[in-house]
Amino acid sequence: MTALAFVLAAVLAVGCVVLVALPFLREPEPLSDSLGDLDAEERRRLELLEERDRALAGLKELEFDHRTGTISDEDYRRLVGPLRREAAQALQALERQPAEPPSSEGLVEGRPPPARTFSR
């Protein structure tokens, strides 16, 4: 039993080492080994996309709550303006961003394809 345990333990250890070493075994000499990172422009784009989605989701919820009667006409009229403005501002800011996606330099296998448009 002890010998079998040692053999199984050795198999386990070797299997784990292979799994851990796999990225280096698969790509011994990769074209690039750096992690893609966001530059300031890409971070700003992410912020704007979040602002846009937040405003649009808020508008959608407000419309539905108004339709159900949870939000009164008075509250709806007061709230819908700022939300529309925020959504429009985020969309305009996104439009002002460079139309081209982030630089493809440094892109590596598995990285998502760049977007072609930022509006929906």
């Binding site: 002890t2 199984l8 796999l22 966001l38 979040e50 159900t68 009667g69 009164s72 700022p82 998502p112």
Partner: protein
Amino acid sequence: MPELGRAALLVTFGLTLYALGAGAAAAWLGRRRLALSARNALVAAFFSTLVAAVVLVSALVRHDFSFVYVAETTSRELPMPYTVSAFWGGQAGSLLLWLLVLTGFGALAVRLNRRWAGDLIVWVVPVFAAVALFFSFLLVVVANPFETQAAPSDGAGMNPSLQNPYMLAHPPMLYLGYVGLTVPFAFALAALLSGRTDERWLIATRRWTLLAWTALGVGQLLGAHWAYVEVGWGGYYAWDPVENAALMPWLAATAFLHSVMIQEKRGMLRIWNMILVILAFSLSLFGTFLTRSGVVNSIHSFTQSSIGPWFLAFIAVTVGVSLTLLFWRLPLLRSPTRLESPISREAAFLYNNLLLLALCLTILWGVVYPLLSEAVRGESVVLGRSYYDFFLRIFGLPLLLLMGLGPLIAWRRASFRSLATTFRWPTVAALVAGVVLILLGSGSSIPGLVTYTFATFVAATIVIEFARGTRARKALADTSWPGAFSSLIARNRRRYGGYVVHAAIVLLAVGVAGSSAFQTVAPDTKLRPGQSMRVGPYTLDYRRLTQHQGANALEERAQLVVNRDGHRLGTLAAGKNAYAVEQQVSNEVGIRTDWLRMEDLFVIADQIDPNGTVYFRVFVKPLVNLIWVAGFVFVLGSVIALWPDAREQRRLVARSYAVGIPATT
């Protein structure tokens, strides 16, 4: 094969150490292959821990008493389900379960989020690895489940109170909850470490938090039901330190689940959310420490051990590092928006958060006070039930009311006129319920009456929300009523799943109020066979005492005939089990449930004399079964909210693609 178990744990230790070091280096230096290698190490750590777990379960099933752990926690007579449950019944086994779930959750969370949060994941891996390293260190150095000895002929057996079906599920559910809170913690710290404090860490962890929170909630209810039927004192929650240990992280996670919505909708409370995640995780560690260290006296604490100082040191390091990172990243976490009005949904959620946190910290103070008083004054002073009950009413009742108010107030700012319209019918329903209850005699307990009234208010808001929403969907989609109802839920699972969870809390509150504020307690009564006693509307005729040799215990039962208002309802048995191997006796209560009234007749045979005389304690507990029904409703609501949303996933991936976030790790 203890050698295999020991080797597997050593491999896990090495893998988590590597995942921590390599993962941190990869994230810091921006090395892709090294980051992938660290991630693989975390996955491999799960499989090596699984091997160790299989070795231990196999030893338990084979009654291999050469394992010290197996000999200390089981015996040959122990039924097989409890033999398997000994895996988490003892110290080392429960730590192994912690590590197994932790590495499994880590591997899964990393895999599921790699497509749209790859730049966060590189930091998540070392954080997960650090926590896993601590637990693997404990298992290798402090509490090894694979210690061996010359095998005795039989084991010491299991504590009789643990030999209950609820104990098969209660501890694993709590562990799922405790460990599940590591996921939001790891992503929060990864966000701080990487400086990626955008919404993604929140979105990545929302369902994990909900899963952990659900497991903690269900685990506590299972534990409460276990205490109710097994411990035999007539209650289900005694503010025991170990019970509180699970409640505190649940309260912190509840606050987080609400405040996260404010960040998503309004971009506010970013620092607060970080604090809540750190608090919830630290409290989950503290809960494990309380349960496993034996530092407090508790009916749920079955061990005295040496892991306490290690746990305290780890909690201190966790809190210290987390708060340092938080302080470092404060400039990134400042909110661009402010609270516009104290009458708004975000304000209501904020009040809810403050009340939840106040209740959580009050309970924490009650738990640590005996330890502090012993350290300072040399004597342990325990804060009793009245302390906890007082604060539960002070903070819990406004929380209950807010549950009805919050979801119906507009974001940003609501007008008084709008509020009056929105809450007109729920207020009328609550007032009518209050008056009717007073007329029915429920005015004997003011907190109970207030709970019922507030519960009616919340229930009315939930019903109205579902009714209005279904009507609106029907008008929009021109579909049938059932179609509109299912479409309503499917289109906003979080919101309507949340309402179902709120309905569960309403049932829970009514059940707790009914069974505690309005229960009937009979004074201890000594009966000989043939004698009767009366409790509320019930009459109990004690007929005889019976004995039966069970699988591993001698079962002695007092047989009672139960009548209500002159009608015979059936028989009920209450008594004790005498466990030969464990040399212990357990109370086996008799419970008769009236599902129409949701009421229990609860009988304890406190003392059984050799001549057949029995000292009975009897309770009538109105509405107590609503608590257990609430558990099912709670799970239903959580499943609705947890259900994957393909549209949201597509939106997140599209957003990441639009920016070009790397997904390689």
